[in-house]
Symmetry: C2
Subunit: 501 residues, 2 copies
């Protein structure tokens, strides 16, 4: 391994900083605020966190961890369970940490993924003692080259007092050149971000490194935890088809052409199914401007359907990962990874006019969406980038199956128990039942579209009954609600195990 | 009057289009979708709408009206009450129309003020048959010069099939040059908006007019309905001081300097009191980048505290109006009026790093804000630009008195009945009781700050009791709620006339 890693440390002054994960982990102190690389389990540090787990098991050791987005099991499962995390932000997606967030043992700062960099820059979370960043290489001209995600690495490297680099020699050197690092200046002293096409390159190949901050380089060969794509079932396939049909209707209305607009799609199997649906479609020369690229995007590139894909992270299945990273040259002119401050930037999302597809946990009859809190209290994963996109996209589409738990729960309710996306940001709601195009409608105009087109037949009657009673009780107000009944479906669920009457 | 208006019509080919308000109003058909100028009762058409009121009183006549923001009494009171409005967007602030919105007689599309132009451009509301736009002049080189607001005029003039111009000869010709008209291109084919300072001028002096669209020019001498500023009471003064002190603490923390950052403040007496507070403060060389300029901003310019003010509208008291419009030259190099697509643009709000101050109707113990719906059902005015600013500002501050209705209602509740601004966009909450700085905090970290610092003493105990019970009931989840009790303070209010136990 030694021969392998040495030619990846181009800045020879840093060669002496190589040490073991255990030695590097010993630099961190109990109570530290630590930044870490990683976005949707891609490009996260792995071996130093594993060494931190050992510390947490054996001594009083608890730190605050802020990242790009969700990390792999070393942090969001093992370190969490070992009691090594006091506070975590801005996103997580692991049952291990989720359980501890929901029993009060770990604090979770759920954040819009575009807000993180601004808040780190403003020192809102305290001083970052260390940033632990996975890298492909340190180039001779002083750039730290990320691996499979960029996330918040540039801003973390900038604001952290010290840096620990996890040099991952299992990641191909052909990753050099895939990244485009552009960091906006201070607010108030900032130029327009000069991106007008998904394929524009704005910056440099890596993160300009201040070598005096580098306190350790740890060699790693651990690959990202692979994503486990659930294959589309009949209903995700139906939802995907609904979206494709809706996009066709937008072309007919003269709002889109056959090349559509740059597509953002959230993570998960429905999003993946939608993207897969494009493969056999008539749409062409598509572009992707998203946070995360999953298997489907590479399949679309392979099929000649997608001309270019921009994101901040690549999260692939084990099989697809081998294929893509074994042939990166093939994708070199079709792919760029950017800081999440650029992938999720309102300025760019609105300028490009994205078609944004994200998953809802539940929606209400007026079009508000809950994407984070089960029954209003328990955190699922976090808002992630869905708000950045939905608020600024040309088309903010939210998808959810109309029911959950085998049919006992309706995903459409009178009032959502937590609002992540307000009625103003939900343009189109899609379930396996159908599509509700909510754009330009007053709340009461949305109700029949949502109930008739999107609600499961088992729940239509009780939602109509609630709505009609609320219209009556409020004298037909702007957004009729009966507060004492707004959550009655949850109260029934709690008592009987089902929302059904 | 004839001598006066003729030299305001520089495009001589349009001289023959001058007609009476009644004749112009006759061009509009029942069922039309009509765009109108006007933003916070400034720069709105007045005499043609008055003639439309007569039609609505005498025949079957109902139209859809989309504007910049709220209009004066001709539309939002008289035409509404005469039954002449089927649907209205994106904002209103008149008891006349509000009552009809809340009894189901008028549909109201409440919208983020930055979303309007995109939706008009995409033809979401149907084809605009007419745009009725108040103007100061039509220049020889073909520009329509707005009056006291720009609002959505540029996009309405672009998308409407026909244009009726209300040429207001009572507005001073010195308004020519105050406006800076820059209209972004189609999404996906749009350049960065080249604004990096509040004082930058990006465009041209007026709206490039397609003369073939102009179907009527109606002469008017009616001034804007003056704003009725409520003088600050003791509590608005205390809130203003809280905000000034908070800004001082931000300077100490190294996040701001003595010149602060460009300030946006919502309309109303608290915002006005805050701005007035700057007059005697140590802050200097301030800048304003806002939607609306009220009296206080001009007082600050007069006092040498504000160097430059950018907005889309000027709404003044009668007295201040005389002073400002009588001496516009004095403000010429310190003032610009832009389209609301520019004043409220996320791209620019985030780039400039605004300090944004807006009013909440109510907030909850986790920091979600309701700024539109009384008891969750009845519309007040609309979300306006508050979301555009809060989501993208450097500092999103929300202010509200801690109580309403003489103390029987708490403005802080367990769960707001409608969410306009989610927990992620509310950085700082201010009441006359104190300040809660919520940045970077997990929901449960926010609760003690909000209850201890912001809640009125009469309600602290019951909010603590709810929160503690919810922590217990949910096993200390991320955001503890007991859904069957979340609205119990409203249920008590309904039964007893007070939220007090």
């Amino acid at each position: 391994m030694e021969a392998t890693f040495e030619n990846r440390i181009g800045m020879k002054e840093l060669a002496g900083k190589v040490m073991s994960a255990k030695e590097a982990a010993a630099l961190i102190s109990d109570g530290d605020v630590v930044g870490m690389s990683g976005f949707t389990r891609a490009g996260d540090a792995k071996v130093v966190p594993a060494a931190l787990v050992e510390r947490a098991k054996n001594e009083k050791f608890k730190i605050d961890i802020y990242t790009g987005a969700s990390l792999g099991p070393e942090v969001d499962h093992d370190l969490a369970i070992a009691g090594g995390i006091r506070k975590r932000g801005p996103f997580q997606a692991d049952k291990g940490i989720r359980t501890l967030i929901n029993n009060g043992e770990i604090l979770f700062a759920d954040m819009h993924l575009s807000h993180g960099a601004e808040q780190y820059r403003q020192n809102i979370f305290g001083t970052f003692k260390y940033a632990i960043i996975e890298a492909t290489a340190i180039t001779e001209d002083g750039y730290l080259i990320p691996t499979t995600s960029v996330g918040n690495n540039p801003i973390l490297a900038e604001v952290a007092e010290n840096i620990i680099i996890e040099l991952n020699v299992a990641q191909p050197e052909s990753l050099i050149g895939v990244h485009d690092i552009y960091v906006p200046g201070e607010q108030g002293n900032r130029e327009p971000i000069p991106l007008t096409k998904t394929s524009d390159r704005l910056g440099v190949k890596g993160i300009k490194l201040n070598p005096s901050k580098v306190k350790a380089i740890v060699i790693s060969e651990n690959l990202d935890a692979p994503s486990t794509i659930v294959p589309p079932d009949e209903e995700t396939q139906i939802m995907a088809n609904h979206i494709l049909d809706f996009l066709r209707s937008e072309i007919k209305a003269g709002r889109l052409t056959n090349t559509l607009a740059p597509i953002q799609s959230g993570i998960g199997s429905v999003a993946n199914a939608v993207l897969d649906g494009f493969k056999e479609s008539e749409f062409e020369h598509l572009e992707v401007y998203s946070e995360v690229l999953q298997d489907a995007v590479f399949n679309l590139i392979d099929a000649g359907k997608v001309d270019f894909a921009s994101a901040t992270s690549i999260t692939l299945s084990a099989e697809k990962g081998k294929e893509v990273y074994g042939n990166l040259d093939k994708y070199a002119d079709k792919l760029v990874l950017r800081p999440q401050e650029i992938s999720n930037q309102p300025e760019l999302i609105r300028r490009l006019g994205l078609i944004s597809i994200n998953t809802a946990l539940e929606a209400d009859i007026y079009g508000n969406v809950n994407s984070t809190h089960v029954s209003g209290s328990k955190m699922m994963n976090g808002i992630g980038g869905s708000g950045d996109f939905a608020r600024n996209a040309r088309l903010g589409i939210f998808i959810t199956k109309s029911y959950a738990k085998g049919g006992s729960i309706s995903s459409i309710v009178p009032m959502v128990t937590h609002v992540d996306h307000t009625e103003h940001d939900v343009d189109v709601l899609v379930t396996e039942q159908g599509v509700a195009d909510l754009r330009g409608l007053a709340p009461k105009e949305r109700v029949p579209l949502i109930i008739n087109n999107c609600v499961h037949p088992d729940f239509k009657e009780q939602l109509w009954e609630y709505y009609n009673a609320a219209v009556e009780a409020t004298g037909n107000a702007q957004t009729p609600h009966i507060l004492s009944r707004a959550f009655e479906m949850y109260e029934r669920l709690e008592k009987t195990g089902s929302m059904k009457k």
